[in-house]
Amino acid sequence: MVNITINGMKASVPEGSTILQAAQQVGIYIPTLCYHPDQSVKANCRVCVCEVEGNRLLQAACAAPVFEGMVIKTNTPKVLEARKTIVELILANHPQDCLNCIRNGACELQTLAEDLIIRDNPFELMVRGFEKDLSTPSLFRDPDKCVLCRRCIEACSVIQSVNALGVEGRGSEAMVVPTLGKDLIDSPCVMCGQCIHACPVGAIGEIENIDQFLAAVADPDTIVVTQIAPAVRVAIAEEIGMATGELPMEVFVNGLRQIGFDHVLHTNFTADLTILEEGNELLKRVKEGGTLPMFTSCSPGWINFCETFYPDLLDNLSTCKSPQQMFGALVKTYWAEKMNIDPSKIFSVSIMPCVAKKFEADRPEMYDSGYKDVDIVLTTREIGRLFRQSGIDFSKLPASSFDSWMGAYTGAAVIFGASGGVMEAALRTVYEVVTGNTLEDVNFTGVRGFEGIKEATVDLNGLEVKVAVAHSLSNARKLMDQVRAGESPYHFIEIMACPGGCVGGGGQPITKRNQKRIERIDAIYLEDEAMPIRKSHENPEVKTIYEEFLHEPLGHKSHELLHTHYHDKHKKYL
């Protein structure tokens, strides 16, 4: 421990702490901008400066380590004036359109301006005048708003190992740009949206589809149907002023009815269906000597990654569409028929924790119903905005249940939202199918948790199945390199592009901290535990769809509607 004095108070803090960490420990707030709790120290914004006795110059609290006897002052007039000037200079380059900005109310720069009492900026406004990048269906970039903190670059390179972003030029002319200064769509970007969470301001954000949704609701002839991904419920609460996981599912369903959805169904239904299709695909590959290890295919950011960086391994990908796209193909065929609704009148909206899902829904392969299977994708954040726009008070809203035929689900589907969940759900079903025995303890805890790569071996009546689970693409890369080298010991690998799995998806409420992702994971397993049915193959509506429509897993109809194929993206610059 090191003894320091901070604003006149004596404190003892762990050796190696920065001034910022020491201040946090004693409850003193130091403003920051480029600092990110789960990233390396950048120290390029200087917003966090403090006085250290014996130093002529102010020190960056996020970078300067404490030493024995250090005397720190975090709020002297000199410090406050310096911070204010620094933020004023940043604002002098920043478009003053907070009112129209996607991050209005959730912007670190806005908060700084307020905390530092910035009123009349003495510096002349000089907006740099870059063009917006609207080249992808998932993300936009608005470089004029960039504060050059470089947090997006670290998210993209270190966490995701995608390296779609870098710096062009230097000094006052520096700018964060996609590879070779081109548009995002030409870069290796996989559209996971982790850069959105990393960005302190509105320089990167999701492409919103809110207007299309409102137009569909306004049209009396259109039947607006929705599906909700499993990771959405636990996080949507954060958008409406509740604690993570606090909004009960049925109240959420009613909220969706309030904003205009005619039918509320669940992606969890097709998550269960995915388990039957994918579980059987795995068994088939094991029995018939198909390509192994098999990779899960639910995460569209991961699919983009595999198509970009590992096109030689596309045969390892399960041919199963993601639950979103299975749902899309079925809602305009099976469900429309069952409900006696003209599929051309259905507007299918999916509510996702993800921005890559927007890209997935737009893929040309995703028209198997004869229509665009999923018309638009709204992120958890967009739904939060729609709830706030409608002024719904969720504390008073009564519950309402899901609609039928594609609304029932099990605990196995719920856990799709967390890293390891698809694997666990698959094991619950595959175990029973292979052994014919009832699985007494359905909890495969070895594949749960926030560790980057998890492994397990499962004994299926003498058949040893080795599985691995990875979240974040830098971890996926490790497993992929092993497969490429022919050294992978696994049969089945689950990959989720985002940290923590879908709970940490690019469309979730803005969060910098992995700790928040871990809270959401906990909420997911609580929900699973409370479910009466926890194995996908016991979902009654899944049984019905096989009896009446699909007939068997991997059957003819399944191939037509529920399976897909992948393409080498032939990206020029990696």
């Binding site: 870098g166 062009e168 590879t179 020029k572 610059y573």
Partner: protein, 147 residues
């Protein structure tokens, strides 16, 4: 031009990408996209990072330029000594504006910061060779050396 061969020569040099870029630029006057992509491959870094290196240093250009790069110092001493008149003479003589390249691809005009030759101002450099105390009248003679 065998830019691949040139880049490969620096493969095992530490920080070799900068030297490789200099060597290629000496031949091509600028760093085309293929060069950056190839360098990323050889030095095993992402293209986004190699592009960062190529745009960080003002002596590299990722835009096509002429065979001969003429740089005029725009720092204070040269400015006071009448750099603007030299600029005007160069622009007139070559028929292009600052930042442009002649149609025959022979000359590009660029500004530079102080080149450390303030003993006799204004200063211009052609392909890195300094000409100190340049007057507008000398411009044609200097250009003739490179025509």
């Amino acid at each position: 031009m065998d830019y691949k061969g040139i880049i490969a020569k620096y493969k095992d040099v530490s920080g070799g990408i900068i030297e490789a870029f200099h060597a290629v630029q000496k031949e091509l006057s600028y760093l085309p996209e293929e060069v950056i992509v190839e360098a990323a491959k050889i030095f095993n870094i992402p293209v986004a990072e190699a592009y960062g290196v190529a745009t960080f240093y003002s002596y590299f250009s990722v835009e096509p330029r002429g065979k001969n790069i003429i740089r005029i110092c725009e720092s204070a001493p040269c400015h006071i000594a009448g750099a603007a008149d030299v600029v005007a003479a160069l622009e007139r003589e070559l028929g292009i504006m600052m930042g442009e390249t002649t149609a025959d691809g022979k000359f590009t005009l660029e500004y530079t910061e102080c080149v450390g030759q303030c003993q006799a101002t204004p200063v211009i450099t052609v392909n890195g060779k300094p000409y100190a105390g340049v007057s507008p009248a000398q411009v044609s003679a200097i250009l003739a050396e490179y025509k």
